[in-house]
Amino acid sequence: MKSLFRLLGFDTLRKEYAYGDDPVLGYTSIRRQAERWVRSTCGYCSVGCGMDLGVRGNQIVAVKGWDGHPVSHGKLCPKGLSEHHTLSAPDRAQHPMLRNKNGKLQRVSWPEALAALTARFRESQRRHGAHSMGVISTGQLLTEEFYALGKLIQLGFGTRNYCGNTTLCMASAVSGYKRSFGSDGPPGAYEDFRTADVTLLVGANIADNHPILCQHLDANAGGYLMVADPRVTKTAMMANLHLPLKPRSDIALLNGMAHVIIRNGLVNRDYVEKHTEGYARLRQFLLEKYPLERVAALTGLDPQTIAHAGRMFGHARRGMIAWTMGVNHSTQGAETVSAIANLSLLTGQVGHSGASPFSITGQCNAMGTREAGFTSSLPGYRKFEKKSDREELAALWRVSADRIPEARGLAYPDIIEAAVSGGIKSLWIIATNPIVSYPNQEQVKKAFRNLDFLVVQDGFHPTPTSEYADLVLPAAIWGEKEGTYTNSERRVGKANAAVKPPAEARSDFDIFFDVAATLGCKDELFPSWAGPEDAFNEWRRVSKGRLCDYSGMTYAALEAEGGLQWPYPEGTTGNAVSRLYSNGRFEFEDGKARLHTVENDPFPDGTDTRYPMILNTGRTVEHWHTRTKTSQVAILERMAPNAWLEMNPVDAKALALESHARVDIVSRRGAVRGVELRVTEITAPGQVFMPFHFFETNVNEVTHDAFDPISREPNYKQCAVRVEPAARR
């Protein structure tokens, strides 16, 4: 009847398209008018924007930026502005699903699912050893969940082979910080972007990937911005000086700048002497090995530009260096971070306003898993190899110290390799999607096929990864659960449950809780916990006295203040901007930071006549990682519906290709077919670029599974490929 009326021309949707005055939003669509508002923190990236969620019934009908929030100042990016649409997405996981005898995933009850999980993991561990069980988690959970999961895996299941997708993301920053400063933990604050005289962004396209950070740079009147990136990114367009260096020559650039600083007497002698170790060696190394001519040859930049960049940074009163995946996604990622730290240390640009070597992290809570997660270090940045750290933790937990591992287990890529070779037989994957994100897809598919048991716990099903699962656990996502996220500037923000999860989906916290109960270790691991706040309070005690000290924080204060930066020891009040190492004391025993000599090596998958082009990968503003969420948001899909390959006109002409042609990209490992070509001056001749979000045309079919020997982070950013017109299909 309604459709007949519509056909005749009566406006059957008038009510839906009506507007009205809303006390919070002002005049707006009637669809967005909420009954109540819940404060929260965004669940996409590490910027950590504050947001208000407007709820009607059990639905978030509107989001708005949190006015006056110290990070985002009322603004949100396009993903944040549409984040509530992820909750009602058609592909939300609804029920636990277990693979039956016929090989089909079949709905089961939660008790059946939990029983299957513990029985199958235990069975596999009995047959193949405790450490044959692997766990790959994420940077998307809440800190309380990471804290609970770490205990559950390391103490409950007793396997050390627990890592996160954060290894695909910021492991190099972690390792680099540890190597140079003695501990993980970004020293700076976003305020530094506003106060620095000179800012150098290395391999960081924040305009696409962290757009809400840009307002901090905009607010820096008179600041000089240098952007080192082989592509002319949107961020490069913001720069006073773009340094279009050759792929994987950032160490050469950083060394060259340090060389200039030493040559021109711009070293902060006093700081270097008091607070660092290794200057004499570094000085000799740089003066001998990184003269401008060599740096120019390595980077493709002219010597004057390098000298100018070095002098600019050397003369800065407040010098800031920030980086993201252009640095981390490299077999030399950790070393590149060391080269960055060198520059900051040589000039004494650490720990004061506008001065920090600053890792802009990827995921909303990659920092949380670093602090509390029990993967690459013990909770509270304690070291596996340090006896006193292990004993301290054991005492806090009232467990025997010999249950705390003395070394970290396998890192993510090593778990995958062990699964291929048979060392890992069962795997639990939580909130991540390796069948899009792992380099060289053939390898991870081989690994999955080798497993006895694969559990995938995710807010969405099916995902490319959950299709491989033997057991799928439906999880609540952002907006449906409570806890904290730590952003890049060490600000702990509160995320809140505004609505209930769909159908039988449960928060990851509750899932871990029940797994522990089924396993019989709940009372030991989670004593008298009732919810996330109890985990938070225990974590406050565990972090007390550590660099990442939460002991002075409360949920109420986090909500009232728009997050608080750690360290926030007991007795701290207010919400002042904080920095690490302001007193020049670093986390090594002698309190001195380490200067490292770092050589610029070529990337391992070099070009030749068969694979003549360098493929670079990255992201676009509309999408988040493997698009599990953002592919379900119609407006984001509309704005960026498919992947593309950027190629310089010089190369396109040589290949007789035009924009919008479909091309195949072939590497030594595989091929990605039928990608839309964009002929553009964004990329240099000889280089091509492709975003990694798209399962349908997955660039990780061709990327190189080479890993940083220190951080174990993959080398996503450079591999050799050839581009061909798409084979007719």
Partner: protein, 496 residues
């Protein structure tokens, strides 16, 4: 449990230094004075292409993803590494002479006398979508779910209560602001409304002020490779060919009548039936057929209103003339003359609908010529086909009309191919590539319509009807509208 906030936000509670201005400072502090209006200011040098404005606009208006009242386009220029990348974020330009308003048959558009904002009333709209052709910037968009058009109204009601429009509020770079502009001064000098990737501001006196970068002249739109075959609008093809056939048919009848030829009582039935059917079916192409009667309201400025009036008058006169022929009334040729006059006026009004700057391939007198010639090509063949005449001059005139039609069509294509307008060249390009088989088909059918007239007048009429239908199909599908620069990727279609 999470804290639930009271409905009213506690603004200003935090003592943080504010990075961004309160978005209320990005709109004028006072209302426009007489002679002034609000306008958008867009700063290309600040925009980072994040598209927050697009999402915020869709949220604000509860629009489905496929409708984007604000859109962001990409521009590129220079040679690596001295590449320039900039963006255009555009909503409605709230023009001084809004082509949407001028063309709307039902007065759904108003230009607010106090603010200058071009408002659209969904209640009044009948979904004819004529405004979507009229606007050079592609601003009005049809919502098929609802059957009406919608567009950016600068968040009129938000501005009235002192709040910033959704796009202004959402932009993290303060690239979009609202300003006041003196209308007379802007009419005299509106250069600042022009930018790479924007159709000329002269089409309708766009008021959006654009701050351009120094390197603006280097910039090119990056969506250039995407020229697509247009929507054929089958119902309009049917309407146009049918009404033109009817007008031509009545012209021929009237001419024979005038020359004193005896016409049988049924002579006018075919063209009358075609005209009646076409007019009766016409409302079906509207989003809201039940309100088709409103379409005459804006006869003062809308060619759609005028077409409806003229065609209705034609149909009425044709009815009277048919009756007069049946009754063999004396003096009926005067009614016939009135019928033909109304018919020609109706066809002229039809043609004028399409002659708008936003559609360069239509905005030519060849459209008028082609539409009128279709009437003669078909109408002159109707009489021989119906056995009303075998006179040589009628056949000769029919052939002559066809030759003129082909000449007009080829001249149109040739002019477009050699034009400086990218849209016209693209239209010619479509006719030479994707639409080439059909273009050749229309020529062949016309040739058959000429040759077969000597053997079978019925076949000639059928060939001619097929040729004219195909010609009209090409008219619609080869149209490349003016547009604001879009993104490299073609925006995705609706999720199924």
């Amino acid at each position: 449990m999470p804290t639930e906030l009271p409905l009213l936000d506690q603004a200003g509670r935090h003592a943080f230094t504010l990075l961004v201005k309160d978005s209320r400072t990005l709109i004028p502090a006072r209302k426009p004075m007489p002679g002034e209006q609000y306008r958008f200011h867009f700063d290309m040098t600040k925009c980072i292409g994040c598209k927050c404005c697009v999402v915020a606009c869709n949220e604000q208006n509860g629009n489905p993803a496929e409708l984007n009242w604000r859109r962001v386009g990409e521009l590129e220029g220079g040679v690596y590494p001295f590449t320039e990348r900039l963006h255009l974020s555009m909503g409605c330009n709230h023009c001084l002479e809004p082509s949407c308003l001028i063309g709307c048959p039902v007065k759904a558009y108003t230009k607010d006398p106090l603010t200058g904002i071009v408002d659209h009333s969904a209640d009044q709209c009948i979904g004819c979508q004529y405004c979507t052709w009229n606007c050079s910037y592609g601003v009005p968009q049809f919502n098929p779910e609802r059957g009406v058009v919608g567009k950016c109204d600068m968040c009129h009601s938000r501005l009235n209560s002192g709040d910033a429009p959704a796009c202004v509020h959402a932009c993290p770079e303060e690239a979009i602001t609202i300003e006041l502009v003196n209308q007379t001064a802007w009419r005299a000098d509106h250069k600042e409304a022009d930018a790479p990737g924007m159709p000329s501001s002269s089409d309708s006196f766009s008021t959006t002020r654009i701050t351009r970068p120094a390197a603006a002249e280097k910039l090119r739109r990056v969506d250039g490779g995407r020229v697509e075959v247009g929507d054929p609008h089958w119902s309009l093809i049917g309407f146009l060919v049918a009404t033109q056939f009817a007008v031509g048919g009545f012209f021929t009848l009237w001419l024979l009548d005038l020359l004193g030829r005896q016409l049988p009582w049924w002579a006018a039935i075919v063209p009358l039936a075609v005209a009646k059917l076409a007019l009766a079916a016409a409302p079906l192409h509207l989003g809201r057929p039940a309100f088709a009667w409103r379409a005459i309201q804006n006869w003062k400025s809308s060619w759609v209103s005028r077409e409806v009036l003229a065609m209705s008058a034609f149909a009425g006169a044709a009815m009277a003339y048919a009756a007069a022929l049946y009754l063999q009334l004396p003096g009926r040729t005067w009614i016939g003359a009135a019928t033909v006059l109304m018919g020609l006026a109706g066809v002229a009004a039809s043609a004028r609908i399409y002659m708008v700057p936003a559609r360069p391939s239509w905005n030519q007198w060849s459209t008028m010529i082609a539409f009128q010639l279709t009437g003669f090509v078909l109408g002159l063949r109707l009489a021989p086909a119906a056995g009303l005449t075998t006179e040589g001059w009628v056949l000769a005139a029919a052939i002559f009309a066809s030759v003129l039609q082909i000449s007009n069509s080829l001249a149109w294509q040739w002019r477009m191919a050699n034009s400086s307008s990218p849209e016209l060249r693209s239209s010619a390009g479509l006719l030479g590539t994707a639409l080439r088989p059909l273009a050749l088909g229309s020529l062949t059918l016309t040739a058959l319509a000429i040759l077969s007239i000597f053997f079978s007048p019925v076949a000639a009429l059928l060939f001619a009807a097929a040729a004219e239908t195909l010609r009209r199909y090409l008219f619609f599908t080869s149209a490349v509208p003016k547009s604001v620069a879009s993104t490299f990727l073609k925006p995705g279609e609706a999720h199924s």
